[in-house]
């Protein structure tokens, strides 16, 4: 796999992460389902998952960038698995609504597991790392620019929504209102 193809695939990965973050936001805004603390942590892991691809787009693919994303994906999968296990008891309807039969945290686990497999798959192709010792930034095309700024914009919106939801104190276990908007 050539370096340019690997960069394009990383930009595609960023669009995938943006899609996940946008879907979570859509559920929050349109269905009125505020994310719980563990849900927020999973969102944060999806956001951190984007750092590796951003570095790959900016400085070219490197094993260390993929390794960072792998560590994040493992942490995210562990957080999602904990939430699955919390609601696996008989009689527990789970937290929030289900999408295509699975709750969001189950989809999050599937997403992180898929990310681990895809990153490991990308690491199989050595030719993308040719010239990886250079530290000069690469010129990103418009496709990569849109991918990176989509993710950054969504995370900036999450800063605002989390501030509105939790206020300046600890987030409630089962949030139902935006604390800062309460009168």
């Amino acid at each position: 796999m050539e370096r340019s193809l690997a960069v394009t695939l990383n930009a595609l990965g960023l669009f995938g992460i943006a899609l996940v973050l946008a879907a979570a936001f859509a559920a929050q805004l349109w269905l009125g389902e505020l994310p719980c603390p563990l849900c927020l942590l999973q969102r944060i892991q999806f956001a951190l998952l984007a750092i590796g691809p951003i570095l790959n787009v900016r400085f070219g693919p490197r094993p260390s960038h993929y390794a960072l994303s792998l560590l994040v994906a493992v942490a995210g999968a562990a957080f999602a698995m904990r939430q699955i296990l919390l609601h696996i008891a008989p009689g527990d309807a789970g937290y929030g609504s289900a999408l295509l039969g699975f709750h969001y945290y189950t989809w999050a686990f599937i997403g992180f597991a898929a990310a681990i497999v895809l990153i490991a798959g990308m690491l199989l192709f050595d030719r993308q790392f040719k010239g990886a010792s250079e530290t000069l930034p690469m010129r990103a095309d418009i496709f990569a620019h849109i991918a990176v700024w989509s993710v950054i914009a969504l995370i900036a919106l999450n800063v605002l929504s989390t501030l509105l939801e939790c206020g300046l104190s600890a987030c409630p276990d089962n949030p139902v209102v935006y604390r800062l908007l309460e009168r």
């Binding site: 944060i44 942490a75 904990r82 009689g91 527990d92």
Partner: protein, 52 residues
């Protein structure tokens, strides 16, 4: 509050990754990852209000 801070930290990491140096981005990304895992471990021992 800690989640707002974590989202803000990730935004800063992304801006450093896009505009700053590679080494700085790797360091702040690792710090954000450690902070998120520490937040998880801090809350992992909270009492649970299960819905059944």
């Amino acid at each position: 509050m800690e989640f707002t801070a974590l989202f803000l930290a990730v935004t800063i990491v992304m801006l450093v990754a896009w505009w700053g140096s590679r080494a700085a981005a790797m360091v702040v990304a690792a710090a954000a990852l450690i902070a998120s895992v520490a937040t998880y471990l801090h809350h992992a021992t909270d009492a649970l209000n299960l819905s059944f």
